[in-house]
Amino acid sequence: MRNFAIIAHIDHGKSTLADRLLEHAAAVPQRQMTEQFLDRMDLERERGITIKAQAVRLAVTGEDGSTYEINLIDTPGHVDFSYEVSRALAACEGVALVVDAAQGVQAQTVANLYLAADQGLAIVPVLNKIDLPGAEPDRVRAELDDLGLDGAAAVAVSAKTGQGVPALVEMLLREVPPPEGDDAAPLRALVFDSRYDAYLGVVCYVRLFDGSVGAGDRVRFMATGRAFEVTEVGVFRPENERVDRLWAGEVGYLTAAIKSVREARVGDTLTHDARPAPEPLPGFRPALPVVYAGLYPSDPGGYDDLREALERLQLNDSAVVYEPERSEALGLGFRAGFLGLLHLDVIEERLEREYNLDLVVTAPSVVYRITRQGQAPYEIQSPAEMPDDALTVEEPFVEARILVPSAYVGAVMELCQERRGTMAGLDYRGDERAEITYRMPLAEIVFDFYDRLKSRTRGYASLDYRPVGYEMSELVKVEVLLAGDPVDALSFIAHRSRAEPRARAVLGRLREVIPRQLFDVALQAAIGRRVIARETVKAMRKDVLAKCYGGDITRKRKLLEKQKAGKKRMREIGRVEVPQAAFMAVLDAEREGS
């Protein structure tokens, strides 16, 4: 038995490699095989990215002639989902660290390597895409050496053609140790993920470290103390396949008529109710949301539907957190926390697609720490909450690590400087590549930094970052006023030195997205009472149906009715009709600017 995960930088070919391993083990009949087989969500297939880690159990025959059960977990590569990776790693003894033989080591390669190394896992380096004309295996092997790995030992494969896959399997069987654990000891099973199934309730993905578990057993979650009777256990092939018992060292699933994700927290340890283990497994830190955004139903009557959808979605993605929020402009909704912008994007799209909702999403914000006279510091997740009389405002900082060809060091430094960064390190790796470390505000990095970085380095730079705590900053709340009335959902927090240009950019964007109305609409941005920028949406001049004869009457009436229905999707704030896009203006302005 072997448990391992495939980890890599985004687009280095993890999911395709997983396909080849599945084929190698003949786990999926040829005619059912699709590309990126383990990416089950429509969204994953469309975007070609892995969002959720996916496990599968395979049987392979080694060169020694014996058959091995292996549990393979395919993991996401995007920085937003590194929490998924760290949970998957907790269920494994080793990893296949996949590196694109053309692109070489990238920031997420390093970040994921560190995650695996921190957990003491065996690491099998893999050079993928060696069939590409631009592949430079020797250079990349040297880069792996720099990371403290044995570059010469890295297995060269092509996930596209299948070349090298048998050798990789051998290497994994040899290098990844079999799980340890005592079948006879009290049960200790780590819940490393969960999923909601309409029929089964919550499905817990578990890794057993000690003991065994089967249907009919009464188990207890050690952190919550809640006990349930197990209804089914099984393994992933990759469809759920029921088994009698799961044993120490195995990865599988468990159902127990659990209705709420709050009762079955990811990271908790399951043990037998009657014969509990003395200590839970270490688990992992809960995912900390990085950005918060308001989620509102487009139609104010849709609040209950949205709440229900969020509850459901949280069962599938425990990294989403939310609480009710009330906006003067948008009514009842939720403030929700996300691991990053891609995560927000994915959740928004899943809510709209899987739950058929029409949402207004407000511009995301990081968490600020406020101190007021005579009060303990507290955190705010929304610009609207920022008081006028804060003594100090602190914002989260991160250490960003950027790997880039040496030629782009200047461009990266310039960008980081613009984003209020201070350099913390610059290391050259050989003649060609540099690792640049900057300390910078999270707010500067979260939104569009990565896109900007990519465009300034022709796509060569890769980025990883980790939080390093809060620091005081000169931050101000900029209020946006529509026709003289402040709109809470449009306000934003900015560094004082950048408040004016940002305000101008935001108003410029609002002027583009707010349709002309029957009257001039004044747009203003203000810090306190001081207006720092203004724009006007000029009144509509012309909207006329010129021809209207016998055949036009019905058609044009229907057109007008459709237009009218479209208008109903807008939010009316005061007398101004505001489309959904306006609430993302703050973010759009950021993306388009600089």
Binding site: L518, F519, M540, R541, K542, D543, V544, L545, A546, K547, C548, Y549, G550, G551, I553, T554, R557, L560, E561, Q563, K564, K567
Partner: protein, 418 residues
């Protein structure tokens, strides 16, 4: 007329604007004091064009083969004859006007059009001298054709001139130039058409305030009685629509279009043309009686592919594709492709929206007679808001659009429609 109230049970579900009223049995605005009761207008659709213009979203194009127009004319004649035989709701109605539109009616031989007009006179008793309009493309008529059309009894010809700037005409894909338009209008006048109308399009790509002014001034000086000025609308599925989506369509900005439109109104007013409808200007006595029917609730019966009819509160329309139309009619089936009967609240709102296009606006008395309720009360809140925004003027006699309201007609319509 006896069927007016007997057509269909009201669907359940209350109307949103006017509750429980019958469908209008009479026009809601009177175009002329002497219009007879139950009058009907006749429309004939000719779906052919020599080619398709860049702004046009009608299903019109060259006929599929040399014989298709002949087959089409045959089908038209059948539909006309059968309507008189089989549609009791038409019986006893005096026919008031005829209008041949398109497409380009003059893309078929004048004899063909003459034959259909003759049949309308026969079947519907359309009186001699009644307004009978034919639309014409300056590129496809010559003096002989105009002579023949006039001989056949057409009293009014409406030319799609669009612009007198050759650069603009080329850009929008017209087949004529300014000189050809000048000549066509002169021929029509010389061959005896007492009523000549010219269509212009406002806001075309490439137009400048100078060339626009020159166009309007020249047209106003031609001694014709009627001008239509249409603000360009870019429709999906047209060459302009595709160009716009590709970012390749450079239209004058709205502010400039409004300026040019206002200037056209002033030039035409100075030359004696009154703006009697949003897009229609006429010298005294030269209004288009046929078109006025559409905005006042007069019944109309349309023949041909895609033609619409409105009789006793029901609207219906024929299949759009010419060949399908021909096949359906020739094989003895009804070409009607869809019908709709608005529930009274919607019908009243639509009537109000159509009435506002005219200079007389919503005529309180006629409207109340048609719908059994005071329009100023029925639409009170919406009209108040529109008046506050400066789009309509409300008085004791009814409501009309203001100058600003005429530019924002769609906003007014959307506010009144349920």
């Amino acid at each position: 007329m006896s069927q007016a109230h007997a057509i269909r049970r009201r669907e359940p579900g209350a109307s949103r604007v006017v509750g429980g009223l019958p469908a209008p049995s009479r026009p809601w605005g009177a175009p002329a004091a002497n219009e007879p009761d139950g009058a009907v207008s006749l429309y004939v659709h000719m779906p052919y064009c020599a080619h398709r213009c860049a702004f046009c979203d009608l299903t019109a194009g060259p006929p599929a083969g040399q014989h298709e127009p002949l087959a089409y004319l045959t089908a038209l004649r059948r539909e006309i004859v059968r309507a008189v035989e089989e549609e009791p709701e038409l019986s006893g109605r005096p026919a008031l006007t005829a209008y041949f539109g398109g497409g380009t009616p003059t893309a078929v031989q004048p004899e063909g059009l003459a034959g259909v007009l003759w049949l309308l006179r026969q079947q519907f008793g359309l009186p001699d001298g009644a307004e009978a309009t034919v639309e014409a493309d300056p590129a496809t008529v010559d003096r002989e054709a105009l002579w023949a059309l006039h001989q056949a009894g057409f009293t009014r010809v409406s030319f799609g001139v669009q612009s007198l700037d050759d650069g603009v005409l080329r850009r929008i894909g017209r087949l004529h130039d300014a000189d050809r338009a000048r000549a066509a209008v002169a021929w029509a006048q010389e061959e005896g058409f007492g009523q000549v109308s010219v269509d212009l399009i406002l806001g075309l790509p490439g137009v400048s305030p100078q060339t626009w002014r020159a166009t309007v001034e020249e047209v106003a000086g031609w001694g014709i009685g009627h001008v239509s000025v249409y603000a360009l609308q870019v429709e999906e599925g047209t060459a302009f629509g595709r160009r716009q989506r590709a970012g390749m369509l450079h239209l004058p900005p709205d502010d400039l279009v409004v300026e040019m439109g206002d200037e056209a109104e002033a030039i035409l007013a100075h030359a004696g043309f009154g703006r009697y409808e949003l897009s229609s200007y006429a010298r005294p006595g030269a209004r288009c009686a046929h078109n006025e029917g559409y905005w006042t609730g007069r019944a109309y019966r349309g023949f041909g592919a895609g033609a619409h009819s409105y009789i006793d509160g029901e609207r219906r329309w024929n299949v759009r594709a010419p060949r399908r139309y021909v096949n359906t009619v020739v094989s003895g089936r009804s070409p009607v492709d869809g019908r709709e009967r608005l529930e009274p609240g919607h019908a009243a709102a639509e009537a109000a929206v159509l009435a506002l296009r005219r200079d007389r606006g919503i005529e309180r008395k006629a409207f109340a007679a048609a719908f059994g309720r005071d329009p100023l009360e029925t639409f009170g809140p919406a009209l108040d808001r529109l008046a506050e925004a400066g789009l309509v003027a409300v008085g004791a006699q009814g409501a009309t659009l203001t100058a600003r309201g005429r530019w924002l007609y769609n906003q007014v319509a959307a506010a009144l429609l349920p």
